[in-house]
């Protein structure tokens, strides 16, 4: 029962954070809701007994912010 509650909570949280990530227009600010959304997904996958998928989520969460930050930095550099 507790596991199902945890799964439901993680699922709802993931849906809400995904919405927040889509609604955030500024790419830099978008990183925060996106990474929280990623974390909620990882928790959901662990509670669904899919540790392999959860590990893939961790891999995305590690590489994505770096690439985004540098890409945003370069784009701002061009604007100046």
């Amino acid at each position: 029962m507790a596991l199902i509650a945890l799964q439901a909570a993680a699922g709802v949280l993931a849906a809400l954070l995904a919405l927040a990530a889509v609604m955030t227009r500024d790419p830099l600010r978008q990183l925060a809701p996106f990474l929280l959304y990623n974390l909620a997904l990882i928790i959901l996958f662990i509670t669904l007994q899919a540790p392999d998928v959860a590990l893939s989520g961790i891999a995305v969460g590690l590489a994505y912010p770096f690439i985004m930050l540098f890409a945003i930095g370069k784009a701002r550099d061009r604007e100046r």
């Binding site: 540790p51 392999d52 959860a54 590990l55 893939s56 961790i58 891999a59 995305v60 590690l62 590489a63 770096f66 690439i67 540098f70 890409a71 930095g73 370069k74 550099d77 061009r78």
Partner: protein
């Protein structure tokens, strides 16, 4: 197209998509009641046939190893594409070393971030090695382990300055890792052919179930994938860093 026409097209498409989603949801098996036969077959045969307790890696690297080889080569190609796109182009220049050093003295990273990143480096390397070498026995494998491995040098960047990270001489190290990783997988496939069987056939001794050197070719290929993925990710981010931090418009 006018906004109104766009809305009509969207509503028509949205309705069709929603109907399909609802129809699909209604026909789904109850939550947690998996109906596919292959999963059950793999769960039964992975340990006796391959001595691999992690059925996922047994499928990805052995039973469907050829698909994974293709995926790895896609990653290889993607990394090469990024490198090609982000090279120094006409109208851009890399400033001389003296200017560069001046450019990078002011660092606004807080001490908390620096200490945190420093403390992460060793655990990340250990976790990456664990994930790569135990892929056949527990959740993990080359792809996940490689990504975690890639995070370690990035922590060096967060903990220090860009110059420190650059002192690791990424291109030399990464060229080697990328090449060895891609070639390792391809060569392990050929080993199967040399033994007179199909490409990527699992011909190595299977060993004791659950140990590091078990499941035949699985740990070897995992190691190759780990190298390839780790080096690939760092290479892409390194190219972005060069573009952002060093290369300026003329």
């Amino acid at each position: 197209m006018k906004p109104r026409g766009r809305l009509v097209v969207f509503l028509a498409g949205g309705l069709v998509a929603a109907a399909m989603v609802v129809a699909g949801l209604l026909d789904m098996p109850p939550f947690g009641h998996y109906r596919g036969p292959y999963g059950n077959v793999i769960n039964r045969v992975a340990v006796p046939e391959r001595h691999a307790t992690n059925a996922v890696v047994a499928v990805v690297i052995d039973y469907r190893g050829f698909d994974t080889l293709g995926e790895e080569l896609i990653l290889f190609t993607a990394v090469m594409g990024v490198t090609l796109l982000l090279r120094i182009q006409r109208g851009e220049r890399e400033p001389p070393a003296a200017v560069r050093a001046e450019d990078h003295v002011p660092q606004l990273t807080s001490d908390a971030v620096r200490v945190g990143a420093l403390c992460m480096i060793a655990p990340l390397v250990v976790m990456a090695l664990y994930l790569v070498t135990h892929g056949q026995a527990s959740p993990g494998g080359g792809f996940q382990g490689g990504a975690v491995l890639a995070a370690a040098p990035l922590m060096v960047y967060l903990a220090g300055r860009y110059v420190t990270f650059r002192a690791l001489d990424p291109p030399k190290m990464l060229d080697l890792g990328e090449g060895l990783g891609a070639a390792g997988f391809l060569v392990m496939g050929l080993v199967g052919m040399v033994a007179g069987m199909a490409y990527l056939a699992n011909v190595l001794p299977l060993g004791r179930t659950g140990s590091v050197l078990s499941a035949g070719t699985l740990p070897v290929i995992n190691l190759a994938i780990g190298l390839e993925v780790g080096a690939g990710i760092v290479f892409v981010i390194y190219e972005f860093m060069e573009q952002t931090l060093l290369i300026r418009r003329r």
